[in-house]
Subunit: 716 residues, 2 copies
């Protein structure tokens, strides 16, 4: 074979391998749903998940039927949906299904529905591109009719399909210039791994056609190819025509960093170290939660509906807490989910400036959530929930073990009091803290986002985002900082020879439709302010007081957090008071925060303008769920939360939605190489005069007789 | 008996009961150390602690000998110390020992000492009041000589002794006016519980005599007497003469709140609720840490010295992390501890304005740490460490189970990466996160502070403070908010009928003597700033860059955190670089923060001026350990961290100490009644280019065969 033939052969080999892998990772159901194959690819690698806690957890997706108005589309429904679509005139043309999810019934319908009632009509919302035009369709699954068709009104394109992402990365291989430059760098085509990088919007170049930038890496000698960038080489690809639009090649003088030291797989470690003995959370009587009808989670004082979603990852709905006195289940939150992510990198150069990812709207946060690893991603006694999604052709596939639910006990204290030597009374009362965690982990190419919804039995909900995975790095000729002129800006940290970890931010924006004891709520800023005393009033000159300000309109509720002008942020039900007359409420407790500092007129910041404040409150509106807009991809930012909020609608004593953005500035350090220890940040939703008193006053302490008797595993 | 006789009888009965309780709670050693009694009072209530993990953990205090230069004084040493003091001329007069702790050897001596070397001379630092004058004595325990005697130079008095606190509360009982007003309120003297409240300094009234304010509560019908204040009644007591100085009685029209609903003991609950099945952290092969020579903790990559301290609570010293490549133990921190707390309440009225507690310097954070409750304060497989302290007369006593050490696994993820559908490669690597926790819980009268030092095997140290226990509440005539005029400031939240939870702040200031690869360090603010691009440079208008600013002097290192002007805060060793040339360092990652907003000239804020910034850095100085000053009690604030820092000494490439203050604003809510669910906040010390790479790359994932086999306890 001459070298061209070899390249072609390798290319074909590579493409075949990729197609094979993809087919296996997201195994579609055949049209005969009884012929089930679930994610065979990972199955072999999986330990048997722990015993499911409910009899409905056997994942018999083929025969699954919806039992709750909010249940996601089942395999059967997705098949039916596809048939309905394919028989519609529109779909006689070339099409791609970008999203097919349950069209949730109107809120009042869901709120009045009771277990045992017939389900409201099941409808699907489909986002499809047909002949290059984006359509939003509503399909009635009962009548098998398309009941509405809309074409998208805003700039931007829908979330990419998995097929978009993968097929784009093959396109450059057909380009001779691309092949030449790869060869010139001494990289074997068989060692090439390419990534589809969303390119945002900066002007005319990113308008009127659906584009992607492809950048490549060498996999030679490592599975961690992210550490071996072919720096400066960017191929612009038209995702619809599958053609190369432009190639930029500005890094020829930059060596590809070494493979040595980049492997993170356990099997590839030379020196293995056992730092700790086995430790495990054990529950001799089994976990305390049940999951009814596949999606309804009941644990301790809590009940909520849980479903995987291709865009949001996980959607938590109908969150209710049990009143310890009345036993009544009281509404807390109608719906909560990860609405959007915004991840701008801080390098303005040609191969980097556009890296301003919006992972939910561009890539699908749920689409990127891979099967969780039992015993490592989640502990023993975990319940695993699968995602059932539609592929680009509309066929259903199962993402197994996508979400996990488990109880956690870290040795923490729920509440305690000892009487001290001062009083000398014999009192010591301590209650252990046990929580329920709902987890998913999305791997958006290199990065891994771990999203936890943690429920405490005292009424607190903690939403935590952990960052792990692998840095997006930049090649550099430098191998030591002593080569770098002090005036030069590396845009990051030299992590290893020829490797710079580029500075970036992460913003994760949550949609929180709070319904505190019902939908009609108000947002109250409880401002904590210094009050000077008057002369003679007190030996004190000053003290702090709390001033309640009810937000009348959206602009009143645009909050930039300030350490020296602090507030508490309450969502209250103005029509409901406690026994002693306080409005019942939940407060948002911001966690470790970072604010976006980019220029407000910078195109990425316009698109990510939902990060201009840390908190926003909007009136409930079915069409306002995605903070970066329904069509985020290449959008100009004219459909973001920031734009909606500028309308300044009234929000007092209304059905309102609160939005909170967790932020991280990430200046990489060497400890992040070659894979990052998890960094987490969280915020809390905490009852504030929601319960009349501490709701876990009457739970028992641990006693020796209740705890398990454990032995070393016989096989150990 | 007439009523006076009855009162006298009851008073005597009460005093006897209190004395009895105290004697039992802090059982002093007799002069014959073999006659040991450890904390009998709580012992009966204690479950047997889990198996100790080292053979030295049998707490044979009588025969304990020091084995490390930093070890606390042993029982024998305290006995010897007392003999030495009593034979000194000074102690022929009336005296009280306020503190007797090891005088740590000079830092170079400790740093060069190696296991097996003879111990440097053992010395004690004693703070004693003799005939009303504060003395600081250094005693050589080898030669049994007092080698220096100093009288305190600053305003203020030493930390109260337990005897000061308890005896003050009896003084009012001898006062007829006090008895009359108690009777007038219909409270039986036998139902009276009184607390010693430190009164700060506001001017001449708090000078030249050692005073305390005593406030009382009714214990009738509840152990939670804190919820039944006798509002407005304040008795000023001279702690030295044990005389009533003044009585203020301004709350006669305020009813004492009901006892109903205030009980938190499990035994007193009518309706008990089991929300969850038993859950436990199990370690079939035992815990992975060892504690050598009673105080040297070794776990995973970590080694440190741990000791209880009467003022700080817990002192962590000589913290070293193992380099994963060289195996070398590398210095991280020389010494870390809770230096001071500042807890100002936000009510300027007569009975409240002075409540501006400094719990370490006034009450002794360690003195208030009570025995931990096995299985509830700390999980199974915990090691418990006792405190050995000196009583007011110099005799040693044991506070058993004061500190606990355990491994924690909450189901969290140390690091992870899955390859995504985008690349389709078969990779999924996840490592569970296991940590080591050192915990104590101080009950400073009503409040409980849980302090955790949590070590992660990736090099991160998390310092967490949890607040639980019982609110300090104020009596009020109101039983519903509808009675309150909207212009009226309640200074808090109506929690229950006649009960207001008063707004307050908590500041917990930590001393962090970082020695990153040795004592000579610099403090670097890595400022994250927007950089606008130049015309034509990039389609981007802006990006963020990191600018390193080395702090030259103390004032450069006075930091107020700003969300919109963020920095990272590094302590680096300027003489040591990584392989690729980054300075090795650790960064302080601030946690949820609150800043003090009081007027800087307000007397409490002058005394608590160490909270004027969140971060400070000072040059190492043996005499600067207590942020509120060595003699905090009634001090004017002329010996605080803020005053030291104003000297603006150079701190570049020097042995430096970093100070960080965790802050909480607490606007109480009904869920805090009658006992508060724990609220936590934390900060991290995180390696930043300290290790060449992720230091836990080569640890194994969990596998089923390593985990325990557990059964329901047969007794359950």
């Amino acid at each position: 074979m001459d070298s061209r033939t070899l390249i072609r052969f390798l290319f074909l080999f590579f493409v075949t391998a990729v197609v094979l892998l993809l087919t296996c990772t997201n195994v579609p159901f055949s049209d005969k749903p009884e012929n089930l194959t679930e994610n065979r690819f990972f199955q072999s690698n999986l330990k048997q998940p722990s015993k499911p806690t409910t009899t409905t957890a056997t994942h018999r997706h083929a025969s699954a039927i919806p039992r709750h108005p909010l249940d996601p589309l089942t395999v059967t429904e997705l098949h039916d949906l596809r048939s309905t679509l394919l028989s519609h005139a529109l779909f006689q043309n070339s099409y791609a299904i970008h999203s097919a999810v349950i069209e949730e019934p109107e809120k009042p319908v869901v709120l009045t529905w009771r277990h045992g009632d017939p389900l409201p009509p099941r409808k699907a919302e489909v986002i499809a591109r047909v002949d290059g035009v984006t359509h939003v369709l509503i399909v009635d699954l009962g009548t098998r009719k398309v009941i509405s068709v809309d074409v998208g009104e805003h700039s931007g394109y829908p979330t990419m399909t998995i097929e978009d992402m993968t097929s784009s990365t093959w396109v450059p291989f057909e380009n001779a210039e691309f092949n030449r430059t790869i060869m010139a760098r001494g990289v074997d085509l068989k060692d090439l791994a390419c990534l589809p990088v969303s390119l945002g919007w900066f002007g005319k170049n990113e308008e009127n056609r659906r584009l992607i930038k492809v950048q490549c890496f060498s996999t030679e000698g490592t599975v961690n190819f992210y550490m071996r960038p072919i720096e400066g080489l960017t191929v612009v690809v038209d995702m619809d025509t599958k053609q190369v639009v432009e190639i930029t090649d500005k890094g020829r003088n930059i060596p590809i960093p070494k493979a040595a030291g980049t492997e993170y797989r356990y099997s590839a470690q030379n020196k293995k170290v056992n730092l700790v003995n086995p430790i495990s959370m054990e529950q001799p009587k089994g976990p305390s939660f049940v999951i009814e009808d596949d999606h309804l989670v009941k644990w301790a004082n809590w009940e909520f509906h849980l479903k995987p979603d291709p865009r949001a990852g996980v959607i938590i709905s109908r969150v209710m807490g049990r009143d310890p006195d009345s036993g009544e289940m009281r509404n807390v939150m109608y719906k909560g989910f990860t609405s959007e992510l915004f991840v701008p990198y801080m390098d303005p150069s040609d191969a980097w400036y556009f890296k301003t990812y919006m992972d939910a709207g561009e890539y699908g946060f749920g689409l990127q959530a891979m099967p969780l690893d039992p015993l490592n991603d989640c502990p023993r006694n975990t319940y695993y929930m699968d995602g059932v999604f539609a592929a680009g052709d509309g066929r259903p596939y199962v993402r197994s073990n996508m979400v996990c639910v488990f109880e956690s006990y870290a040795g923490d204290i729920g509440w305690r009091h000892s009487e001290s030597p001062i009083t000398g009374m014999e009192v010591r009362e301590v209650r252990p803290k046990v929580t329920l965690v709902v987890r998913m982990a999305a791997s958006v190419a290199n990065y891994d986002y771990i999203v936890d919804w943690e429920f405490q039995n005292d009424g607190l909900i903690r939403v935590k985002v952990g960052l792990s995975g692998i840095l997006m790095v930049k090649g550099t000729p430098y191998i030591n900082m002593n080569q770098v002129n002090s005036s030069e800006n590396l845009h990051g940290t030299l992590l290893s020879e020829n490797v710079i970890g580029v500075i970036h931010d992460h913003y994760v924006t949550f949609y929180l439709d709070m319904d505190v004891d019902g939908p009609q709520n108000s947002f109250v800023k409880v401002n904590i302010k210094r009050q000077e005393t008057t002369v003679g009033e007190s030996p004190r000159l000053s003290y702090l007081k709390a001033i309640r300000n009810v937000a009348k309109t959206e602009k009143d509720a645009q909050v930039k957090l300030k350490l020296y002008d602090p507030s508490e942020y309450h969502v209250v039900n103005p029509s409901k008071k406690t026994r002693v007359g306080n409005p019942v409420g939940y407060k948002l407790v911001p966690g470790g925060t970072a604010a976006s500092l980019l220029d407000l007129d910078d195109p990425p910041q316009k698109r990510g303008a939902f990060t201009n404040n840390q908190i926003w409150v909007t009136p409930y509106n079915r069409s306002e769920e995605w903070a970066g807009g329904l069509f985020t991809y290449q959008s100009k930012g004219e459909d973001t939360l920031a734009v909606w909020s500028e309308r300044d609608r009234t929000i007092e004593n209304k059905d309102i939605v609160m939005w909170y953005t967790l932020g991280f500035h990430h200046v990489p350090c060497q400890e992040d190489f070659p894979i990052m220890p998890t960094v987490s940040s969280s915020f809390d939703l905490k009852p504030v005069n929601f319960y009349e008193r501490n709701p876990i006053l009457n739970i028992p302490p641990n006693t020796e007789k209740d705890l398990p008797v454990c032995n070393v595993a016989s096989s150990a």
